[in-house]
Structures are given as C-alpha cells and as structure tokens.
C-alpha cells in the first residue's frame, strides 16, 4: 500500500506549525500505524532530516502515551482502539492521511505531534487518590465489595489517561477523564468516604487547568479507547 501523509510539523511550543507532505510507500497491511511512522523516520534519517516526534511507549494500547489525530479523529476512526493498535490494513481504502497532534489549549504542543498532558497529572494530584498511607491498610477481605460495585469501579478505573476525550470535545473538557476517576473511587466503600471532597477538588483543578465544561456532546465516549461511558459524568455531577 502507498500513502500520502500530511504531517503536522512544529519546532516547539512557541513556533507556528504547518502540515508537511511525505510519501510512505510499500507499506504492508500488518504494519501498525506507528510502525509506518517509524519507517518514515528511517527515511528521514537517511535524508539527514530531523525525525517526526510522536509519543508512544507500550504499543499495546494500555499505557496511554500515544495520541495523534488521524483524518480528524483522535486515535483514528476505529472504535475502542488507541493509535498504537491501528494497523495499516484498517486504511486499505485510503491513500491520503492527515496526521496532527491532539488540539486543546491545556495540552500545548511541544514538538510536531507531541503534546504535554501534565494537566492530567495535576488533576490527579488534586484529589485522585484514597488518602491511605502504606502500612495502615486493614485485612483485604475485612471490607466486602459487591461484585457489581467492583465491576463498575473497574470499568471506570480502566481509563488510560490518553486525553482523546479532551481532544475530541468542542469545549476541550476533561469531564470524562475526571469523572472516571471520581466514579472509580465512589463505587468502592473505601473510596466513598472522600467522594464529595475529591470531586470538588478535582473539578476545581480541571477548571484551573483551562479545560472546558461538559455540554453533553458525548463525542468523548465515542473516541475513548477504553469505552468509558458518559454516565460517569452524570454520577460526578450528582456528587456536587
């Protein structure tokens, strides 16, 4: 397969970026999307040019490092998938790809396709934890958790913190990310004690970071690689 790639190049946070067009030819269908970019970078090294910087690490869809907006879709069009889990066979019918970074003022571009998502870390630091210290935990089975609650908590906890929900939201809201963490803890008896206070602090931090509010577009749950449901946002709001 041959692809024409329009890739966002931007030297650093201060500079103005633009799309540059490259060609990636003879790409095998079993090549992953990021491996296709690896191959492009190998070409660039050969031509003594600076490589395209993009975030990646585990390449198995769990660490949340990879990002990219592909033809207008964060993590590409495929549902329930992070960018690193896209394969070029998914693009067999397309020959032209527009690849750009996540766009949100709270996620500034630091180079090319890479953005800074430390705002998410700071939201977690504001309250995304249960205040327990090492050593003070009671026996694990001393507090029962119904299977439904445990499963619901897990469904929310599985968020990988990639930020696609922010990238797709017209308001650049981090509501889905924040709500997932709040709901994860709220489903569990050991987390419920701090629920209200936690929600207040995390939502406040979300606003401080410049993320918008939720106005029910629900695009976030569509692009979420972990299929986190917007019902988490409803629950979060009910805690306020």
């Amino acid at each position: 397969m041959n692809f024409t790639l329009h890739i966002w190049r931007q030297q650093n946070a201060e500079s103005i970026g633009d799309f540059i067009t490259y060609q990636a030819d003879n790409i095998d269908g079993d090549t992953s999307f990021l491996e296709m970019l690896d191959q492009l970078n190998e070409q660039l090294i050969e031509k003594s040019e600076d490589c395209v910087v993009f975030d990646y690490d585990c390449r198995e869809g769990i660490c949340g490092t990879c990002s990219l907006v592909i033809n207008g879709h964060p993590h590409g069009e495929k549902n329930a998938t992070a960018t690193c889990q896209l394969y070029m066979r998914d693009y067999a019918n397309q020959s032209e790809l527009w690849i750009e970074p996540f766009r949100a003022s709270s996620f500034p571009v630091i180079k090319d396709l890479t953005v800074e998502r430390e705002a998410f870390d700071r939201i977690i630091q504001a309250g995304g934890f249960i205040s327990v210290s090492t050593g003070s935990a009671p026996e694990a089975n001393s507090q029962l958790v119904s299977k439904d609650d445990a499963d619901n908590a897990f469904d929310a906890a599985t968020c990988i913190g990639c930020g696609a929900c922010v990238a797709v939201c017209p308001n650049a809201s981090a509501s889905l990310f924040v709500a997932a963490k709040i709901n994860h803890f709220h489903q569990l008896p050991q987390g419920r004690v701090e629920s209200k206070n936690r929600a207040k602090r995390m939502i406040n931090q979300m606003e401080v970071e410049g993320f918008g509010s939720c106005s029910n577009h629900r695009h976030c749950e569509v692009v979420c690689p972990q299929e986190i449901s917007v019902s988490n946002i409803t629950l979060m709001n009910s805690l306020l």
Binding site: I45, C51, D121, A137, A140, L188
Partner: protein
Amino acid sequence: MHNLNPNEPSGPIENRWEKHLFDLALIAPQNRKKYNIIVVGTGLAGASLCATLGEAGYNVKSFCYNDSPRRAHSIAAQGGINASKNYQNDGDSTWRLFYDTIKGGDFRARESNVYRLAQLSCNIIDQAVSQGVPFAREYSGYLANRSFGGTQVSRTFYARGQTGQQLLLGAYSAMSKEITSGRVIHQSRSEMLELIIVNDRARGIVVRDLVSGEISAHIADCVVMCTGGYSNAYYLSTNAKGCNTSATWRAYKKGAYFANPSFTQIHPTCVPPTGDNQSKLTLMSESLRNDGRIWAPKNIEDCDKDPNNINEEDRDYFLERMYPAFANLVPRDIASRALKGICDEGRGIGSKVNNQRLGVYLDFSSVIEKIGIEKVKEKYGNLFDMYESITGENPYQVPMRIYPAPHYTMGGLWVDYNLMTTINGLFATGEANFSDHGANRLGASALMQGLADGYFIAPQTVANYLAKSQFEEISNIHPEVVASLESVKVRIGKLMNAPKPKYSPDYFHQKLGRILWSACGMSREMEALEVSMKDISELQSEFWQNIKVTGSKKDFNQTLEKAGRVADFIELGHLMCLDAIDRKESCGAHARLEYLAESGDAKRDDENYSHVAAWEFQDEKPILHKEQLHFEFIKPSLRDYK
C-alpha cells in the same frame, strides 16, 4: 573490591525480616525532612517507594522518561499478583509461596530474600485494596483468586487482564498524594544518564530533560534505581519501546556489580511476529493457558491449513503429551523451549518470517464448549479483543497463534538483603535488581516483588542507611559533579557526530537483537555465544563509527534518546553472552545445550554453579565475583514438571 556480603540476618527464616527490622536504625519523624532521596524510575517499584518515603516525611526527587509516572511499563502486566492469603483454603502458606518461588527460580535465588517476599505478599494485597485497586470479586463480595502460571494453588489476585495497570494506578495515585503534600518532587520526560559518586557513595545523578535537551545534575543523600529490566536488548520484546538499561548500565560502569545478566525470561504466549518491520511483540497473558490448549499439527503438510479443518487426531497437544502432570501450565521457560522446538522441527503455523513459520495454536474451543462463550468473554474478553485488533482474527472462532518473546529479566544490579548495590548509598528495587527470581520468574511474581520492594522493604533499609551515615554538603561545582556532567556531554557529542554517520539507531538495535535472540535466547551453547561476543564487539565499533543521529541535541530528539540506549544495550549484550558462557550448566530459563538432561530439561550443576554471578566493570574485561548460595531450608531438588 566489594566482599559481596549479602548482609542477611541469621536464625529461623520466619523471624529474619522482623529481627532485621528491629536491628535497622530509625530516623525520628521530625528529622526525616532533612534527608534527600533520589528515585529514578516511577513504575510500580519507584512510585510505591516515592509514596511511602513521602508519607514518612523524607524529601524525594523522582524522575521518569515517560510523560507521566502512570505510563510506566508495569502497566502492561496482565495476569495478576500472587499472595499467600490462602483464601481458597487449598493449602497455601508463606512457606509454600517461598518454596514455589525458590523452586521456580531453579535454586538460584537467596532464601532470606525470597522468604521475606512471600511474607510481605499479603500486605501488598491489603495495601492495594485500601487504595481502591478494583480486584476481581466473587458474588459474595470477597476477593476472587485464580491459579496462574504453573502453581497448584489459587493464590493469584487479578483485575481482569489489567492487574498491572490497576496496581500501577494505585501506586501512582499514592505518589500523587505525596506530590501534593510537597514531599515528592517529580520530573517526567527526564532520563538519567550518569551516576554521581562522591567519596565512594552515590550522591546524585545527571539527567537530560528530553524536551529541552538540557543537562542537569541533581544531588541527594542516596539514590534508588527503580528502572526496570533490559528485555529490549533483544530489540523485539514485550517491553514498552522506551524500556532501557541505561540507568543500570551507568551504575554498572561506576562500580555497581551486575548479577546474572544472562538470566532472561522468554514468555511463551505472545502474538507471533509477522515481518521485518515489526517494532515490538505483544504478550497475551499466560492466564490464557489456564483454559486454552496448546497444539501444533502432527504433520508438516497441515501447517498451512485452516486449523478448524485439521482433525482432532492430527493435532499434537505437545505440552499435555510431554508434561502430563502440569500440561499447558508448565513454567514459562519449559513451555517456551517446547514451543520453539516444535517450530524448529518445521511444525510451526502462521505466515513465514525468514522462511520459518513461527507459531503454534492456543485453542479455546473446548472451554467455550464447556462453560459457554459468555463466561469465556467475562474471563478473557479484553485479551481476546486485543488479539483480534492486532491480528485481525477472531479467537472465539479461530485458535490464537502464539510464539515466545523476551519478557522479563531476572538478572540486574546485585543487591544485598537491604537492596543496596555494591556502591554505598545506591539501591536497586523491582526488576532493576537481580534478587528474588533466581534463574526463572514465576507468573504473577513481578508485581509482587516490585511492590514489596517499594512499599515495604526499601523505605526501611534506605532509612537505615541514612541514619547510619554523615553527609557532607555537595555543591554543583564539586569536581565529581562537574566531571559527571562533562562525561554526559562528551558522550552525547560522540553520538551526534560519528566519524561516518550512516545508520540509524534502530539499524544497530535490530542487529544486536538478532544476535542475542539466536545465541543468548531460549537455548545457548558455547560456540555460538563466543561467535556472538565477537559479532557484538564488531557491532560496537561499527556503531561508534557509523551512528547517525539527525536533529539537534538541544531539542526534543527521540533519535538521540534511542542512540544512547542502543549504545548501552550493545555493551550489556556482550556481558549477557559472557555470563551465559561462564555458566556451564542449565538452570531455569538458562538452557545450555551442552548441559541438558536426556529428557531435554535443564540440568543444574549445584556443585559448581550454586552461586550468583556478579560482574564488576573493568576497562579490559569484567571481573566475575561469586556470591555462594546457601540452602538451609529448602533442599535443592530437580525441577521436574513431568
């Protein structure tokens, strides 16, 4: 030279850790804020350590190369975490977990360390549950367990197929709480490139800011390395792309002994490679082996057939045939070698890579028939989805294809019972050290070790070191600091300006990977290892002549990052082969073809090799030191899974 004293307590093994805790010096709460600790790497071991040290009141400075601690590769561990809670009343105990771990490691680990690990396993579960880790539960509300990776008791706690993710997020949230308290200062997108030693003690590190390219020195009273393993030496592995040996290798070159570098684990259940441009391999949790049956066609001519059209009598369920007692649940090394053997015979399946079919089937049809597709979905849903997204095949309908891949490294920096390396004030925890898994790690034990080290062991032993030491003030113009900064800059200059820049870092990395995979992978032999050492030496000189790094060093430059890591992997690869040559026995995952039993199983030589091989860096040739292992409580026996 270090005396390699493991500093183990003596007496009944049940009481050793408690006795040791009492003997360790303490620092009063009000004095803790006077001490500064650097933690390098914030995966399970590092994040749990940062959290615990912060809670205690120390000043912690931590670094990771990812854009957030939540992304560390601990997150990818799927199957679970062991603890000897004996909730299932199936005869489990601290002693049994201790026994299984020592035996699983093929009697190449230190008894005192392993017993302590088993003891602490239960505290980890308590801690994680209280942090809100959503472990699987029964309808009664009690925690669920499963049997995992070759154990005969159900002691594994799990959170669907994402146990590592949930435990890491637990440790990350605990660490985040301490960042808020101000006691932990964390810097992401930062890579340690040198260790600073002053008066024979680790006192700091040199770090490169991966975004700006700025090089800076950071001074503290001690340094803890929580930097993970080095499976990426093989290029293709299940590790995240960024995982590297650079931090441990810098420490090695500054005097920390590197123990058992050839002890690497090749995991049997990974998605097979499909071509030359493959950048990594993906692990499918070995919990799949609980219900999946592994087979290959009996006849070579069936190998390219649709598996569903191969008759039952033409299928070879080779693990069930070879190891009737443990069958599909034999330990990883045994499964991996058997699997490779089948493919080497030409009975592999899937597309050909370099003219060989690399894969066998992992078949779920019988369990689907038995318990129904819904139950199977509940157990393995996300793993099946992951497999389908990688291969485009539906494992509910077509058997999965699997092939072994490098996955975990038991070797690492040598540490004593206090997790201190041979450099004073330099500690190593989690996969970065060599301590608990011997020559082979059992499933669901990596998470356990990382968290035992981070939550419960290192916080105590680091405090003891600080309490017993006096620290002089060190400024940024101290000659050692200046020299360390300078050496980092010189090295980066060399990487950026090779005499004849020609090839990318990946070019060299792939070459190294191929050498190590064939000579120092699942089976090793003298001749091939010796050839590899020569090949690696040549690769090393070629690297420094021809490495081509484009872009600028004062910028976000992933090519430069890779080049530095590959340079270290090449040197480590050389040491891995040397260590494999020196160990003239088979043990655990280390299968020397000249020293296998007739059955093909590993044959240990306890008389000559019941030791930890700890290598000391020297310019000419590394020097081997041996820590003799003593088995006072468990008599070394043959690891027999027939």
